[in-house]
């Protein structure tokens, strides 16, 4: 019990003294996962919407692939991103392995199928005739897609939350392609793993609490927006 209480005490002192190292790690986590989520939204929403709206042969297989991708194991993503970015790998010349950019790439790859899958389901879930109704109102194809997305905005916000939640809490890929380099690629999850390994449970607990708070605050904000949109 003492271990936990001390840990929590230490955690709050770290938080309230605004320990620069902890702040740095927190900020990097937020920035890296935020950037990865943004990239995944851009790719995931556009491709998800396109797959939902366009009929093409093999559509079912594509949808199954996307849905499978929603459960992509981060370590597998980490492994493949590492191989591709390795010095002798196809993209070795970029020299970005063990940089924050590498973590962003890996996390974006993890989040994209999640966003894509939820977007796909959200758009497909809209009434079938809604598309025709919008076109009959005189909309161009682009206006139609925009109105459909607007109509699916609540599940799309859920996609943002799921995507961000998936990557901020992910550790396997970040440690493999980032390397947990102090002050450079150390994020909350990788730091927690390391501190626990070293037996510094107090610091680990502090980092864990920050991670939880961060996830909570971002989701609370998005939930706030989502629920405000619901009919009164």
């Amino acid at each position: 019990m003492d271990l936990i209480l001390e840990g929590i005490q230490k955690a709050f002192s770290l938080l309230f003294t605004l320990d620069p190292e902890v702040l740095g790690i927190t900020w990097l986590s937020l920035a890296v996962s935020g950037a990865a989520t943004l990239i995944s939204l851009f790719i995931g929403i556009s491709i998800g919407t396109a797959v939902a709206l366009v009929e093409f042969p093999g559509k079912r297989i594509v949808i199954s692939l996307i849905n499978t991708g929603m459960g992509l194991p981060p370590v597998v993503v980490g492994l493949f991103v590492s191989i591709f970015l390795w010095r002798n790998g196809p993209f070795g010349f970029l020299e970005i392995l063990y940089t924050p950019t590498a973590i962003i790439i890996a996390q974006a790859i993890i989040a994209t199928p999640i966003v894509m899958g939820i977007t796909l389901a959200a758009i497909q879930h809209l009434p079938k005739n809604l598309r025709l109704q919008i076109l009959a109102l005189g909309a161009t194809r682009l206006q139609m897609v925009w109105l459909l997305m607007k109509e699916a905005r609540l599940p799309l916000l859920a996609a943002v939350m799921a995507g961000f939640g998936g990557v901020i809490s992910e550790v396997g890929a970040s440690i493999m392609v980032g390397g947990n380099i102090k002050g450079y690629t150390r994020v909350l999850t990788t730091a927690t793993v390391m501190e626990t390994g070293k037996g510094n449970f107090d610091v680990a607990i502090a980092l864990g609490i920050i991670l939880l708070l961060l996830a909570f605050m971002v989701n609370a904000l998005l939930t706030q927006i989502q629920q405000k949109q619901r009919p009164r």
Binding site: P127, L132, L135, A136, L137, G138, T140, L147, K150, P231
Partner: protein
């Protein structure tokens, strides 16, 4: 515009849906300002035809002409779609307020805020939902939602409005009110309307002309009066409510009248035919009167038959009475008459109808 000139025409059109042929329409024209109904059973192609007319379903071959000029995806499609509006069976409202929904088409046309506000207010009032402007669309009753959908369609001042079973999901009192309002608004705005419905009474009430569809084809087009009373074939006859449909052979012709021989009796009808012609006799159930004794009036009517009641089905305002007079005959009888005549199954009665009540279809 001359109200008799076609605003919309179809020439030699065929369409498929999911590889299956759904439409084959050699010729159809919709006149400016009229209310035109497409009636037919489920799966007869009414909705598909409506979508083709609204340019929302691509067709394989043939032409759609709006005021004489052909509409194709590459030519005039967007301009055409901005002159029409469509209302479906489901209201298909956006997740927004009633006002925002009615404004949707206007926003798509990038109208100014002031214009949008003016038109939306006017349209809400026109459909009697002015007090619901700020209500969220998900909080409306079925009737209010469909009114919102209609207001959204009329807000863009369409030249043609397409209605796909617009009243089918509404309960009877709500439907009555909305049909009356729609009829008034169509008249006030002089909007051309094409409506698909499986309810012949709805079509009868609203339309200037109607077309009966079966298996993707139009079987008959004409005024409601003509289609209801002079169906061209057995299918149309049964669809428009001719309960009694009998096959027979002409045995005698007179001055404007013919005598048809059926199994179990001879019927006099108005029409011209030659002896030996095979025909189908159709009799509307509301044209058949029943009595328990032979009155002066029924004696003077030639088509009077003694029979027995086989079945009585209450239908609200009237009862549907099935009779066996040697051939089968169906009559609609008011509830009061059922009581007065003390009708019950097995009771012997006399059924009579005028020669003019018999519609003949040549085989």
């Amino acid at each position: 515009m001359n109200s008799a000139s076609p605003i919309l025409e179809i020439k030699d059109l065929q369409a498929k849906r999911g590889g299956v042929p759904v439409l084959d329409i050699p010729d159809l024209d919709i006149r400016g300002g009229e209310v035109f109904s497409l009636i037919g059973p489920n799966g007869s192609g009414k909705s598909s035809l409506l979508l083709v007319l609204a340019c929302l379903l691509p067709w394989r071959r043939g032409f759609l002409l709006f005021k004489g000029s052909s509409i194709t995806p590459g030519n005039g499609l967007m301009a055409y779609r901005r002159k029409i509006a469509m209302v479906f069976q489901e209201p298909l409202l956006f997740d927004a307020t009633v006002s925002d929904n009615v404004a949707a088409g206007l926003k798509i046309r990038a109208m100014s805020r002031a214009d949008i506000h003016r038109i939306v207010t006017e349209c809400l009032d026109r459909f009697g939902i002015g007090h619901l402007g700020e209500r969220h669309a998900r909080k409306l009753s079925g009737g209010e939602a469909q009114r919102t959908s209609l207001a959204r369609a009329f807000a863009i001042h369409p030249e043609i409005i397409f209605l796909d079973e617009p009243f089918s999901s509404l309960d009877p009192p709500t439907r009555e009110g909305l049909i009356d309002d729609l009829q008034r608004i169509l008249k006030e705005t002089r909007t051309t309307a094409v409506m698909a419905t499986h309810d012949r009474l709805e079509a009868l009430r609203l339309s200037d002309r109607m077309a009966v569809m079966k298996d993707g084809k139009i079987v008959q087009t004409g005024s409601p009066e003509a289609v209801m009373n002079h169906p061209l074939d057995e299918f149309v006859a049964s669809f428009v409510g001719m309960e009694t449909i009998l096959s027979g052979e002409i045995i005698k012709t007179g001055s404007g009248t013919v005598m048809v021989h059926l199994q179990g009796g001879d019927i006099e009808a108005i029409g011209s035919a030659r002896p030996g012609d095979r025909v189908i006799c159709c009799i509307r159930p509301e044209q058949v009167t029943l009595s328990t004794g032979l009155s002066q009036e029924s004696v003077s009517t030639r088509n009077t038959f003694a029979g027995r009641v086989t079945r009585i089905v209450p239908l609200g305002l009237f009862h549907k009475v099935s009779l066996d007079c040697g051939f089968f005959l169906t009559a609609y009888v008011t509830s009061a008459s059922v009581e007065n005549l003390d009708l019950k199954e097995g009771k012997p009665v006399f059924a009579s109808f005028k020669a003019t009540a018999v519609h003949l279809i040549r085989k």
